[in-house]
């Protein structure tokens, strides 16, 4: 039972990070039907910026929680800035181009950003400070769920709630939903579609940055390459849940996190990625639109 | 409707549900040899969905679609894939033109010949005499069809560069290349100017007369429908509300109401 719980919470933690990143994929896809391949790099940049800020702060003598907040906020700001610029530079000129064009552009961007960070900083793994302290009250259960996991879970839940409120309750959220349903219609009724798309990228990037900072302080290291695999997995999660669907991304992330955790725990981690993609193929065969995705009848 | 004419298509109680929405509600319809039948009705009446059911793009929820090719066994079309339906001899065009934009006009028509030819991968690589002959024959017959619809001059243009009316005619030529005995035209005159519409009218009549292809068309242009169609079926809210000759339809109060209701909106 203890073992099961360990795997359960391990999967939950991993899954909620996947979910945070997957949201960026799914929101962007929902609006402009683009797989934003460079999203994983935004996550990496978030973590990297946080690392740099934390490093500078430590050297200039700030401490503990203030570093965490400052690093987190600046990381989010920068991720958003990168996400926004990414869309403007690499995707906006391609609106209305054949489907493959923006996808290739996205892959190109992903390669570019990886190597940009590699050249600008270092190819090495850098130590990320442990910004999350060990809480005393968690000590009795620390072998099952530790303080960082707890913080990750709470942050994720809070973020999800805020996101839901943003989308359901605010004007901007309404405009986003309208754009997602029918971009032309939304434009006709006076929604500034370009702004909404930019905003979607910004929100997605912010979520990725939160994920990046959390992961970095959880596992304690960062390098330029962490975004790729995380991005691929999160994208898989988004597809699994039904790309375009926000609850789908969360569910997909969790399902994937658990699937990986239990498969590695009860079977073997040798074939970890095989399980992941096997699961994906299986679900897509049974439900081509993903778990929560609506299967659109194509209009003829 | 003479009884001695051969019945080609028989649709009985066709129903199509999307989730809770019933787009087509037990529609019955028949097309006979030599007919130019028309299916009319206000927007959203379910006409295109009806077409999609017949041509295999949707699998209908209820009802039967029976095809009676001349001299062959009757076939039930429900659940068949679209390409199988086309192979049986039933071809269609689309409401919102679906050409292959980056292929030339001629190639678009050549695609239609695909299901009537059969050289495979290995033959294509070896390119024997028989394959080359078949290719040439595809080109010739496609070109011939282009002449028929008056597009021969544009044969080597990309289809995306054609004017709108010409694109509609190209779709008809492409459908005809599959050697159908029944042609389904989905709003062939949409977006055409009066001159183009009248050319189209002649073309449809010519196809019907010269090629012995029966035609079922969806159309909003009442003048065109009244000029060439018999019988006419009228749909509203997924249901068939009337059928008959142009005169009968003109005087049918239900039809008038359906259309007037729409116009006052």
């Amino acid at each position: 039972m203890e073992y099961f719980l360990q795997l359960f919470f391990g999967g939950l933690t991993r899954g909620s990070i996947y979910a945070l990143i997957a949201l960026g994929y799914t929101m962007v896809y929902g609006i402009i039907q683009l797989i934003n391949f460079a999203h994983g790099e935004i996550y990496m940049i978030g973590a990297f910026v946080a690392l740099i800020v934390a490093g500078v702060c430590t050297i200039y003598g700030l401490s503990g929680v203030s570093i965490l907040i400052l690093a987190g906020v600046i990381a989010i700001i920068y991720s958003c800035a990168y996400g926004y610029t990414l869309e403007k530079v690499a995707y906006r000129p391609l609106r209305g181009a054949p489907r493959l064009s923006p996808l290739i552009s996205a892959i190109g961007m992903s390669i570019f950003l990886q190597n940009y960070v590699l050249l600008a900083q270092t190819p090495d793994f850098l130590p990320f400070p442990r910004l999350i302290p060990d809480f005393d009250f968690m000590e009795p259960v620390a072998h099952i769920i530790g303080s960082p996991e707890l913080v990750i879970l709470i942050t994720t839940v809070v973020t999800m709630i805020l996101l839901t409120l943003l989308i359901k309750k605010t004007r901007v959220g309404k405009a986003m939903r309208a754009t997602q349903q029918d971009m032309n219609m939304a434009r006709l009724v006076g929604v500034n579609v370009d702004r909404i798309i930019s905003l979607t990228f910004i929100i997605g990037s912010a979520l990725a940055a939160i994920g990046g900072v959390l992961v970095a302080s959880y596992i304690g290291q960062v390098n330029f390459y962490i975004g790729f695999l995380a991005g691929v997995k999160a994208f898989t999660a988004a597809v699994l849940g039904g790309i375009g669907s926000i609850p789908g991304a969360v569910l997909g992330g969790l399902v994937l996190g658990w699937a990986e955790s239990f498969a590695a725990g009860y079977i073997s981690s040798d074939y970890e990625d095989v399980f992941t993609f096997g699961l994906l193929v299986l679900i897509l065969i049974l439900r081509p639109a993903g778990i929560l995705g609506k299967s659109h009848k194509q209009k003829v | 409707m003479a009884e001695n004419k051969h019945k080609l298509l028989e649709v009985k109680g066709l129903t199509m549900d999307f989730g809770g929405l019933r787009a087509v509600d037990s529609v019955t319809l028949e097309v006979y040899e030599g007919d130019i039948a028309a299916l009319i009705g206000p927007n959203g009446a379910g006409k295109t969905t009806f077409f999609n059911c017949i041509t295999g793009i949707y699998n209908p929820s209820k009802g039967d679609i029976l095809l009676h090719p001349k001299g062959l066994k009757t076939r039930r079309l429900n659940g068949l894939k679209p390409n199988k339906v086309t192979e049986m001899g039933l071809a269609r065009t689309f409401q919102n033109i679906r050409l292959f934009p980056d292929m030339t006009v001629l190639e678009n028509v050549m695609i239609g010949r695909h299901c009537r030819t059969n050289s495979g991968i290995f033959k294509a690589i070896i390119r024997s005499k028989s394959v080359r002959d078949e290719e040439q024959q595809i080109v010739e017959s496609s070109y011939h069809l282009l002449e028929k619809v008056g597009l021969a001059d544009f044969a080597n243009e990309f289809s995306k560069n054609l004017p709108y009316g010409a694109q509609r005619r190209l779709e008809i030529a492409r459908a005809m290349a599959t050697d159908p005995f029944l042609l389904l035209l989905d709003e062939p005159a949409a977006g055409m100017n009066p001159q183009e519409t009248s050319d189209l009218e002649q073309l449809i009549c010519k196809i019907s007369a010269e090629e012995q292809i029966a035609i079922l068309l969806i159309e909003h242009d009442m003048k065109l429908v009244m000029n060439i169609s018999d019988p006419i079926y009228v749909m509203e809210y997924g249901k068939k509300i009337a059928e008959g000759s142009p005169e009968e339809i003109k005087d049918n109060p239900k039809v008038v109401e359906a259309y007037l209701g729409e116009e006052t909106e």
């Binding site: 073992y3 996947y18 190819p123 072998h143 304690g220 290291q221 390459y225 239990f262 981690s269 | -």
Partner: protein
């Protein structure tokens, strides 16, 4: 497109003419390894070592009175690129080659050097067959092979730590898995220890919580890990977080300052094998100081080995009096040379004599050699 191809070939022609045109009378030291891509951290330190060595030697009058010229080629640790790289170095007239870094790339490239009669010395390719198979008489290395390390790690676990249940993990790479396979083999052969878990982990995966939980489940007293420091730091951090008391034992790929930095206090208590501590050797300290002076940072992985290989190769040429293959390899096999990894010469198979392994314990954020 055709015009372009012609253009390109003409361009290529010019390039090759230009390249040969510059052929001055120098000793050419080829340096091959990953200098870009995700494995670059393992290749760049050796490259920088070569640059520093050459700079110093040239400042002191070069080798045999000639200046040493560096031919640096990136192989990204990929076998197919390594063959191109090797061909390039051969064609450019490299006299000796320092490289490659990854065992796979080295294997792919060696055949080409062998045909061209060029001695090759790797600072890092630890795969045992490279020397033991006898297929590559032109191959030398300044690092000991995997099986030696594995043997040492296993002996240490059994005799010094006295553990009975051991888990063996690896990172699915050629280096890590090779090490793990040997470790498992020696553990099984000892008959005193039970291998409770043998598995590969996915490098770059977000976390290793499942595998860490598994360690607890099988009550492994020690974990022998084959792989590099990023995964090792992740493993020890997570083991600490899960309050696991399993002893962590790993290989030279982990004995890197990055491991200490990244894993922080979680690294304390871990054991790693690695080349004997030679910082007492003046040359070693000097090499580190040189790097710090030049780049203002700590040298990375395989820096000392790369430095040693460059020294050994150039020294052999100097002693041989020429760049002749037989003469150079003979010197390498017979004459000792002072290097940052000790006073070494090479055995008939190409392994360095005098390069030994020690077990290190991480204490207070530093590696302490256990005598």
């Amino acid at each position: 497109m055709k015009k372009m191809t012609v253009l390109i070939s003409t361009f290529a022609l010019f390039l090759s003419i230009a390249a040969t045109g510059f052929a001055a009378d120098t000793i050419k030291l080829g340096v091959a390894g990953p200098h870009s891509g995700d494995l670059a951290p393992y290749g760049i330190p050796a490259m920088k070592a070569a640059q520093l060595v050459v700079k110093k030697i040239n400042a002191n009058g070069g080798v045999l009175g000639k200046q040493v010229e560096l031919l640096i080629q990136d192989d990204q640790c990929k076998p197919e690129i390594a063959t191109n790289t090797a061909t390039k170095l051969v064609t450019d007239g490299a006299d000796v080659v320092l490289g490659h870094i990854c065992s796979g790339a080295t294997k792919a490239a060696l055949g080409i050097y062998k045909d061209a009669k060029i001695p090759v010395m790797s600072p890092s390719a630890t795969n045992p067959p490279l020397t033991q198979s006898g297929d590559y008489p032109n191959f030398f290395r300044t690092i000991a092979s995997d099986d030696m390390q594995a043997k040492m790690a296993v002996d240490f676990a059994i005799n010094k730590l006295g553990v009975k249940k051991v888990a063996v993990l690896h990172d699915k790479g050629d280096y890590g898995k090779g090490f793990a396979e040997f470790a498992k083999k020696y553990l099984d052969e000892s008959g005193k220890v039970e291998v409770v878990l043998y598995e590969g982990i996915t490098p770059g995966a977000m976390d290793y919580s499942s595998i860490v939980a598994k360690l607890g489940r099988y009550k492994a007293e020690a974990l022998i890990f084959g792989g590099y420091h990023p995964e090792a730091s992740k493993l020890v951090s997570q083991m600490q977080r899960k309050r696991l008391k399993t002893i962590f034992i790993s290989d030279d790929g982990v004995k890197d300052d990055s491991f200490l930095k990244v894993a922080g206090d979680a690294a304390n208590g871990a054991y790693v094998t690695g080349p004997q501590d030679l910082s007492s050797i003046p040359l070693n300290a000097a090499a580190t100081a040189e790097f710090k002076a030049e780049y203002g940072a700590e040298p990375g992985a395989f820096y000392q080995e790369g430095y040693s290989a460059a020294l050994a190769l150039l020294n052999a040429i100097e002693k041989a009096g020429s760049t002749d293959y037989d003469a150079v390899t003979k010197v390498l096999r017979t004459e000792y040379v002072e290097t940052p990894v000790g006073k070494i010469k090479f055995d008939s198979k190409g392994d360095a004599e005098g390069v030994g392994f020690s077990v290190y314990k991480v204490e207070n954020g530093a590696f302490t050699e256990l005598k």
